[in-house]
């Protein structure tokens, strides 16, 4: 039956090529515009680690005096002080955890072959590699010992390995960050997270760091922070040590908690920790104020999906509604002209339902064609987005789910457009139709 309906649809298209073309253009434009904005939205809002995002948590601590407000919605700073990051890091809690902070160095091999260039560098505990599922092509993470002793070891990206060593196994080789020689222990495969969710401070969609070094090097190397540093009270900070002891917030921290029990016990730990810090006289607060956000909560809290994008997605769907209204108009004209033919079919025994279905199949086919064409238009739109804003390079693309969604939305839109005209046609009295022939 479906084959027959499809055949009828194709014949119908051929009979009114102009109207059909207009309808296809309308739905294709509607889908093209909608999918352009929706694809960017989809990539922005997508869960970067679906299997694990609910287990990775970023703690936020309120270590300010009572009455001092922060500019965030829940009055908590995004980042931690060095004191807190270090204390949480060294706490005796059986969970994977890592402090982290971004810096940058001139990378070179101390020879004339490669002109020194700048790279961003991240300081982490080796738990980071496990927590964020990083894959290695050579070597692996550094040891816990290196973490504790502050050994000059590093893990670099495959991309950097290509530049420095032509893609060869570089484990054991030396690389210089500024004037300091580091030993490479691992080369990690390219990151495929489009959102840099472990550190959203300087743009959620920046490229990830190409170099990782142990967090314990922060003190001996007097590491400069390349991220944001925020303060809430006046402190006379002159030396690096002053900064480490200060109430400035500038570090990120992640902890992996696999079960609700672990979350509860970690919250208890944080409560105790803050109570203890308050009794030590670090700050004056009556209440204990902190939060533990998992990856998706963290993305939401940091407004990773931009307002602009939400607005454009909304307007695109309104635009799609205009296209649908347009198609309804065209379909009304087209289907009503066909009333006499339908009269014959009805007189020969076709049920109302069959006539209705036949017309819905026809509009679905229209949606399929328009949707496919819409994907092409969306590609053009996404290309325009990328060339306007290179920062969106990784976002302005369609993944498989969007490729599938495009024709589905198109077909749905066309069916909605076709409901009323099809209903009108199948409700026409066959006798009346035959009479006017």
């Amino acid at each position: 039956m479906l084959a027959h309906y499809l055949d009828l649809s194709v014949r119908s298209f051929k009979r009114t090529p102009m109207t059909t073309l207009l309808m296809i253009i309308a739905i294709a434009l509607g889908i093209g515009v909608t999918m352009t904005s929706l694809s960017v939205y989809h990539m922005m809002s997508m869960d970067p680690m679906p299997h694990k995002s609910s287990k990775l948590f970023h703690p936020q601590l309120n270590t300010r005096d009572q009455g001092v407000n922060w500019w965030t919605q829940d009055d908590l700073p995004h980042q931690l002080t060095y004191i807190d990051a270090k204390n949480l890091y060294q706490a005796d809690i059986p969970a994977l955890k890592t402090p982290s902070v971004k810096t940058g160095y001139s990378v070179h091999l101390n020879d004339d072959q490669i002109k020194p260039f700048m790279e961003t560098v991240r300081l982490i505990d080796n738990d980071f590699f496990t927590m964020f599922d990083m894959r290695f092509i050579y070597g692996g993470p550094w040891s816990d010992e290196s973490d504790n002793s502050g050994e000059l070891v590093t893990v670099i990206s495959a991309e950097l390995n290509d530049i420095l060593f032509g893609g060869e196994n570089s484990v054991g080789k030396q690389v210089f960050f500024d004037k300091v020689a580091f030993r490479i222990v691992g080369v990690f495969d390219d990151f495929d997270y489009h959102v840099k969710f472990y550190d959203l401070t300087n743009g959620a969609f920046n490229q990830n760091e190409q170099v990782f070094i142990p967090f314990s090097l922060i003190e001996p190397l007097e590491v400069n922070n390349w991220g944001n540093t925020n303060g809430w009270k006046y402190e006379d900070i002159r030396s690096f040590q002053d900064k480490l002891n200060s109430e400035l917030v500038w570090l990120q921290f992640w902890v992996q908690l696999d079960s609700p029990e672990e979350v509860t016990s970690y919250k208890n730990f944080l409560t105790n920790y803050l109570t203890e810090q308050a009794t030590l006289g670090r700050f004056e607060r009556q209440d204990v104020h902190f939060d533990l956000k998992n990856v998706m909560q963290w993305l939401d809290y940091n407004n990773v999906v931009t307002e602009d994008n939400r607005v454009v997605v909304g307007l695109s769907f309104l635009f799609l509604a205009v296209c649908v209204a347009n198609i309804v108009g065209l379909l009304l004209g087209k289907f009503l002209k066909r009333v006499p033919e339908v009269g014959v079919r009805r007189a020969l025994g076709a049920s109302k339902r069959q006539v209705f279905m036949q017309h819905l199949v026809e509009v679905s086919l229209l949606g399929l064609i328009g949707g496919t064409l819409g994907i092409a238009i969306a590609q053009l739109g996404l290309w325009g987005v990328r060339s306007t804003y290179s920062y969106y390079d990784a976002l302005a693309t369609m993944d498989l789910s969007m490729f599938l969604a495009a024709p589905l939305i198109a077909i749905l839109a066309c069916i909605i457009a076709g409901l009323y005209p099809a209903w009108l046609v199948c409700n026409t009295n066959p006798a009346y139709c035959l009479k006017t022939q």
């Binding site: 109207t19 207009l22 309308a26 434009l29 509607g30 515009v33 352009t36 904005s37 940058g104 160095y105 001139s106 020194p116 260039f117 700048m118 500024d178 004037k179 400069n224 006046y234 006379d236 002159r238 030396s239 931009t306 307002e307 602009d308 939400r310 607005v311 454009v312 307007l315 695109s316 309104l318 635009f319 509604a321 205009v322 296209c323 209204a325 347009n326 309804v328 108009g329 065209l330 009304l332 004209g333 739109g381 325009g384 987005v385 306007t388 804003y389 290179s390 920062y391 969106y392 009323y420 009108l424």
Partner: protein, 405 residues
């Protein structure tokens, strides 16, 4: 004259078509007035005057990784090298660059911190940039009131030193800090350290155009050398790209254990910072253009359909003596009736949508001017879309009517 009564009764008989037209016109009006308002708002923002000759200035960052004994001395030498380059008007090393998107900001007060219990104690947020007396020439800004820095004001240092006792500020900061208008010559404080305001620059934007106080900027005569140092250079506009091209080789020739990054014109830095806004502008313009086209096509299609249904009626009217202009007028009036109704719904929708966008998102309040302008535009476009098929209808021969009865 306009035959409104028969037009309405005809419309009543094709409610669906009229309703669809109405919906399209309403949605189009709602979208276009809001989108065009956002576009205007963003274009204003992108093309705002920053106070700098953006096409003459460029900046770069210099990361020195070699073991330099006296970094300060080296920065001064590098600065001199840049100033001596042909085509360069002035150059200066700074801790951060205006419009670049990165820098430092703090709260400044009109009284020392130990007097913060006082009633007239006031804090104002401002970005600050430390540099020597060449900063004005390098940025292309002028002192409007007071004086610039003297070489003797400038603290040149390798390590963190006490801040200098003088500062030059933007007008916007001065007016916010001292609303009585007597700011010049007064002191501002960070902690208990004070600095006297010795000069005012009419307009100079800080590092972040999207800051809550983008116009508040302080310049202090303080040149602390750092392994990660920013430089600002000004040339004549036509010389800039040539000078930029020579920078890296020249600087590495002077000393090679350093890396030059972020070498770009001030206009480019600004464009990078505002790229998301440009994207929004472009997306909305494309959306609006396509939307208007689709709506016009829709009106066109519906009119063609209406005419095809009424061929006999038109023929009959013509046979009974109606002029061609009467037929055209009939369709124009019909369309106008629907259009006005659609516009009424659309204007309400536009204001509602504008209100929604304002409360849900950080968008400014929709100005009614855009709604009215859009409504007029949509009305004209709808008339034009009707005109072509209506003219065709007017040419229907009276004989058609008699032939097919």
């Amino acid at each position: 004259m306009l035959d409104i009564k028969p037009t309405i009764s005809a419309l009543r008989r094709s409610k669906a078509g009229a309703f669809l037209l109405l919906i399209q016109i309403a949605i189009a009006t709602a979208i276009v007035s809001n989108a065009s308002f956002i576009v205007y708002d963003r274009v204003q923002y992108i093309s705002q005057d920053t106070g700098y000759p953006e096409d003459e200035v460029f900046s770069f960052s210099l990361n020195t990784f070699g073991d330099v004994e006296d970094l300060s001395q080296q920065m001064e030498q590098t600065e001199q090298l840049l100033r001596n380059m042909p085509g360069v008007i002035d150059a200066v090393y700074v801790d951060s660059v205006p419009l670049s998107g990165s820098g430092s900001a703090s709260s400044f007060a009109n009284l020392p911190r130990d007097q913060n219990e006082q009633e007239n104690y006031r804090e104002v947020r401002a970005a600050y940039i430390g540099a020597d007396e060449h900063i004005f020439e390098a940025l292309g800004v002028e002192i409007a009131e007071g004086r610039g820095f003297l070489p003797s004001d400038v603290i040149v240092t390798n390590t963190r030193a006490d801040l200098p006792p003088v500062a030059i500020v933007s007008r916007s900061f001065l007016d916010e800090m001292f609303p009585e208008g007597d700011g010049l010559g007064q002191h501002i404080f960070t902690g208990n350290m004070g600095a006297q305001i010795i000069g005012v620059v009419e307009k100079m934007k800080g590092p972040w155009l999207k800051d809550s106080r983008p116009d508040n900027l302080l310049l202090i005569p303080y040149a602390e050398a750092s392994v990660y140092q920013n430089f600002i250079v000004r040339t004549k506009a036509q010389d800039r790209s040539e000078v930029i091209g020579k920078i890296e080789d020249l600087l590495l020739e002077q000393y090679n254990e350093r890396v030059i990054i972020n070498l770009r014109g001030m206009d480019e830095s600004k464009a990078r910072y505002n790229a998301a806004d440009l994207l929004m502008v472009r997306m909305l313009i494309v959306l609006m253009v396509i939307l208007v086209l689709v709506t016009a096509l829709g009106i066109f299609g519906l009119t063609v359909f209406n005419i095809s249904k009424r061929t006999k009626q038109i023929g009959t009217r013509r046979a009974l003596g109606a002029r061609k202009s009467a037929i055209v007028r009939y369709f124009l009036v019909e369309n106008s009736l629907v259009c006005v109704l659609g516009l009424a719904v659309g204007i309400t929708g536009a204001i509602g949508l504008g209100h929604f966008l304002m409360t849900e998102y950080s968008l400014p309040k929709l100005s009614l001017y855009y709604v009215v302008a859009t409504a007029i535009g949509v009305f004209i476009i709808s008339l034009l879309s009707v005109l072509i098929p209506a003219n065709k209808a007017a040419n229907i021969s009276p004989s058609i009517a008699t032939r097919t009865i």
